[in-house]
Symmetry: D2
Subunit: 443 residues, 4 copies
């Protein structure tokens, strides 16, 4: 058999993404991510971290790559599509044993390095930066192409493997945003060309395959956020905004809003600081021209003391969007950081609550604490970074794949993409494969 | 006692709004609306209409004004805030017996006349147009002011009664939209002036008092709708958009999009046509310069035959947003109107499904029929026309009322506004009154 | 390959069950059911029935058996597990072309005959009754065994195929009820023996594989129903009970309750009458000794007139549990049948609302009509007939199958059974197969 | 005015119940409970307890009795209906300042004493035991009667105040259980007599006023629990059951089941031990004849070590039903107590998850930890202790109150009871009062 695909992780849950693709006797690995809830839940129970790799596999936190044990000698490279933790954060635990280079966009590699640095880990693998919309020869049989796409962080890519059997296209995660706030529009032209050239198999996220919509542009989130920041009376009141640490487009909007409002934007939090630093080091953004970023406690304290005294002169952008213990908002409310929220101060949640019971409880608890202090709360100022059903339909129409494998979802999400494909005259079991973690399909 | 307020209707449900306010020995009536679900459910069961007034009261379709029977001789005027059916459509059944003038903005009066014309009814009352942001002397003791506000149709107003005891402000329905697509921004300045002058009682909608948000601007709906119309491949495909018939700002966006896409916009449906005609007659919009509007079957047929042949050249805007039987979309699918939906034609639902079981079932059935024809469906391209919790907080801060009565909601909505008021140092039972239909409170 | 299984229908939805099993060059068909929502929705739209077979396949109402076209000459028999419509009601449309006998328990065959009679259809197939807990030789290679099991109608069976490769066990639908109200306890002993003999593959329902429970016994429904009938004041009030027409154990409970309360039980409705008649003809129940059953309009009218006059002397058991138009409750409320519900009459819904939007809307509308007449409503007096997760675990432990195929469910239900199996050391993709409609797996 | 009622607490939330009733110039207080979520949330944030009374009021944990400050000198007695914490646990903080006796059934007083002992608090008030179904003269004008009723703990009572103006009946909390597992049936006869005598006002719980049902008898929970304990294979496996500590009828069922299964029942947990001890001291139950109860850690450890070795010989009944940190189940999983859950051990949750986000998250986390150990989980083996809509209707029919005040619920629950009352020809605002915390109504 010529092409074989193993759905290592992320095909039975949203997280710990990893796919292995065997072209004749060469194997390519795509993504190595974590399943954050498993780690959170384990830590909540056991109270410590720095777990060994096998333990992380056992608790479902990272992909179980034993299923490709026999393929190990054949692996030629590890390709990473974008910088989110569910796509790269298992690299420190799994990449080492493959002794092959890691290929990713510069931004993803910077984030990976920062993770390794934080955890005081080292990897023997070579790091090879790949610019979006470029390609390179991995082996005589396999050329790898990174195609720039829009999502909720920077330098996100679909990955196309050009093989003797056609293109294998890996498309996790993406949205089709025609008016992105930061970075370029999707490279539709190239996707269409691949469709004409011949896509053998499309491995594609299905998170929102059931949502009958085109996912709105990040520009819509910008409008909503500015509506709140400009349109609600906040004179003399503190304004805090929280979002995902990696969401640089959203951060950009907050910074622009600060300029317009003549409020100084200060950014608090190590995680958010890490993403910004990576982007700045690569010249992708220049936020620190306009804002002050604090990642150390003493610095944060100093800033918060200033904010306290001049609450009408700042926008504080910080972590805490999921109500998570240890975030900046949690620390302020627990008096680990000095700031007294007062009546009609603003806290803007520019995010969604990721729907796990622990997040819902954490957010509810955080909001209750804010309300006791009579803080005004603004929620759901957000749009998703994932393709809706109608984006996926456009995508399949563009790329005309012979086979489709839904990724990045649970059973009902995969079945939703399956039903979309059947609407488009594919057939589940024939050319659409609803696979679980650890399964293989051969062509 | 000097001021007495009777919450006639709309204080135990969302619909059939009516409030009576007694100032010494003079009474003013505010709004007379229907509760549509009661009528729909009755008709579904009984299969006919033209019900007598008492029957409509018995089934809960219109306000039960017997509770103000003793006030009848004192009534001086009926004031209507805006043109939605849950605020004006009971006028034909109830207004006659009061033999006093009806005061409303010109647009609301036009719609009322159209309703009367459709139902072949007549009213003895005089119709007095009141421009937004003007006032008039109703009696020596009561001056009435209409204050322009943003909502999801045209010429919507809050109504202020200037009385010897202070201002009574009636604020149903509204949002605070700083970038409206059609019409002016809210008259914040005047609201603040009223607050300084002294608001005795605020009667205010509480539909979204539990939503921790500022309701997004209509501009956001415009962005989302254009994202779908411009950003999804629709070459050679039919594009249908459906929304609420009275939502003229949304209709304006569709028309503008048609121009940009070089597709001719055609509007089908009596209800939608009625609202447009009223607005055009008053010079508020000039849609028919750009679009063709069909309200009669023969005209619709002709247009749909053209659309069938030139599906890439039209946008069809029509009724059917709730999946309602008898709407244009329903008639097309039932072959009462000639159009064959085909693979990858678009239907865009620029609305929300009003959350009643019958609507949910109707929409689901309509969507199932569209999907059988392989139509692409885009849902929830919408923002609300009602104030969120943080808009309501701003509003109360502006107007500083002595007393608050939540309107336009069920028990949990009223309690949500009650809890907001308590956050702002009001007290339920003391200066906030959670009242049900048919109750009175005296000051 | 020796054993091949085709999941014809009921593996992507709950309904239109059909499985084909190929043992070497012989094929057995299991169940031929309908997907009722597809028919309801089609009829709602098109307004007629008596559809041709191909149309029924196209709208998803019956299994699409084209996928086993090549197996047609090999088919040796059609086996039906129990009498519910989602398991037998496609027989009139599909069985004819296979020209092989139909095997089922006597009760299932009676129901099938009644369906054929109602629809004025005939089948060329021979009908072969099989008593529960007996077996017969279908072919030299295949012995078929019907194993008695508890569910929510009579003479339900699991079906075991004894083949040279081991037992193939088909277990749709069942619960493990140790205190059944009608009929015998499950034949656990035989299931254990099969486990020891060696089960090659288990095809098993997964409807409630996600529910962390053992499904309660029908005895619990009996307690709840009697609690309402005996414990609520109903002197001089009419008492109506509605349940599923085929639920003979529930009907038995109502009849017993009537005796205790000294109220005469009358049963109205063709569907309910059909199931009772079938059971009586076979001597399985003797309800008509105690109750009067009316299936024709004139008879129903006469009875209802009596009930009207002596409302304290009857319990009326009838159809309408889903609020369905055309049911007895609907006809009474629409004045097609003569009975005036009055204040504090009782209507007991001894059922669940099957969770489709149309059912929810129908039930809501029916309840609203009852409430307008001030009727007292008792809902959810019910327990399920389907195995919970912990029943399924016991079942798998008993039968120790080598392979498992979840049936009778959508994607998330199948994945729930998959996860249960993985807890029990099975592996999805290796010995657990999450299959969709129209797929095949070979061993 | 002669009768005045102040809804001090429990009228805007489920918890911190307290009502004050003024008859001419004498005042009676009914219940003084806590709102547990406020305490849990406060402790989670602040990490300590032993809060001063005013702080407990500020965070909403106990009733704010400042609203009856002016009535303080008039208070003649504090009456407690039953032993649940939301009805008695604020007594230690609030009762002292009233310097009047506390009246309650012996069981409630025992629990109150145990709470005081645990918290090392003392009260100056005299404790006066009142047997269910007896009465006493509180003042010449007020005779107090405790009427035995069924609920989910022991010696629960409705409280009737016989006054010159008629009976004021306080009915929180209760169900109508005609087949109780422990204790007597409701005293329907007396309720009817009160109805005939003349009930001035009924203050009644509304928690499930929206549930169209008669709440099932505790006997149903017994059936379900025994179905699981007897009907699921558990030979050689550990069986743990968890329920609410105060639910003595449920505990009785577990003990009886242990006898039948020939498994020794051991009860672990201070809270559960406290309720059992109180009941045994009063001779209401004799559980310790049959079971071993461990409330100290060393004792629990010894027992669990035995259970570990002889897992087939025990049923362990313990706390943890809400997944709460610090419960026995939590401590076992955290290795604070010695027991290793193993494959196919049973944990039966004979309870509901009280619907707060923190409980849902706690339970989910606890279940996840159990599943990691491959434990079998049985959930929702429970029936409620609160009256459903149809019980409430029967109750109102029995007692025919002139006025109704819904208690023990939020806005939507109160409105549900309001709508029930309106079905029964009452009128909100006229003789039904939907009151919030801290309001007063005078008659």
């Amino acid at each position: 058999m010529s092409v074989e695909i193993c759905t290592v992780g992320g095909f039975s849950e949203v997280g710990r993404n990893m796919t292995a693709i065997k072209i004749d006797d060469e194997v390519v690995l795509l993504d190595m991510g974590i399943f954050l809830p498993a780690i959170v839940s384990f830590e909540a129970e056991e109270g410590h971290r720095n777990l060994p790799t096998q333990k992380l596999i056992d608790i479902g936190a990272i992909p179980d790559d034993h299923v490709i044990e026999s393929w190990k000698p054949l692996v030629k490279g590890i390709l990473l599509g974008h910088a989110h933790l569910d796509h790269i954060a298992a690299v420190p635990y799994l990449a080492g044993k493959y002794k092959v280079p890691l290929y990713a966009t510069p931004f993803s590699l910077e984030i990976l390095k920062a993770i390794l640095h934080d955890d005081e880990m080292k990897l023997p693998n070579r790091f090879v930066p790949v610019q979006p919309n470029t390609s390179f020869t991995l082996t005589p049989n396999i050329t790898v192409e990174f195609i720039g796409i829009t999502h909720s962080t920077l330098q996100c890519s679909m990955i196309a493997l050009h093989t003797p059997y056609g293109v294998i296209l890996y498309a996790c995660d993406f949205k089709f945003d025609n008016t992105p706030v930061l970075g370029d529009k999707p490279n539709y032209k190239r996707l269409q060309e691949l469709g004409e050239k011949g896509v053998h198999t499309l491995i594609v996220e299905c998170l929102y395959a059931h949502k009958e919509m085109k996912t709105p542009s990040e520009k819509v989130a910008k409008e909503m956020l500015q509506d709140v920041l400009y349109g609600v009376e906040n004179k003399g009141k503190a304004v805090f905004v929280t979002t995902f640490g990696s969401h640089l487009p959203r951060i950009k909007t907050v910074i622009e809003s600060g300029k317009k409002l003549k409020r100084k934007v200060v950014i608090l939090g190590r995680s958010m600081g890490k993403y910004i630093k990576a982007a700045e080091d690569l010249g992708l953004v220049h936020f620190s021209r306009d804002v002050e970023i604090a990642t150390y406690k003493s610095h944060m304290k100093k800033i918060l003391n200033d904010v306290e005294k001049n609450r009408g002169k700042y926008i504080v952008l910080c972590t805490g969007s999921q109500g998570e213990p240890g975030s900046i908002l949690d620390k302020i409310l627990s008096e680990e950081l000095p700031f007294n929220f007062g009546e009609e101060d603003h806290v803007v949640f520019s995010c969604k609550t990721i729907p796990a019971a622990i997040n819902i409880a954490n957010r509810e608890a955080l909001e209750a604490r804010l309300k006791k202090r009579k803080v005004r709360i603004f929620t759901e100022i957000h749009v998703s970074g994932h393709a809706g059903r109608e984006d996926l339909r456009d995508f399949i129409n563009m790329t005309k794949p012979k086979h489709i494998i839904p990724a990045h979802g649970d059973a009902s999400m995969k079945e939703a993409l399956g039903s979309l494909a059947e609407e488009m005259n594919y057939k589940i079991g024939t050319n659409v494969f609803l696979m679980s973690d650890g399964q293989k399909v051969a062509f």
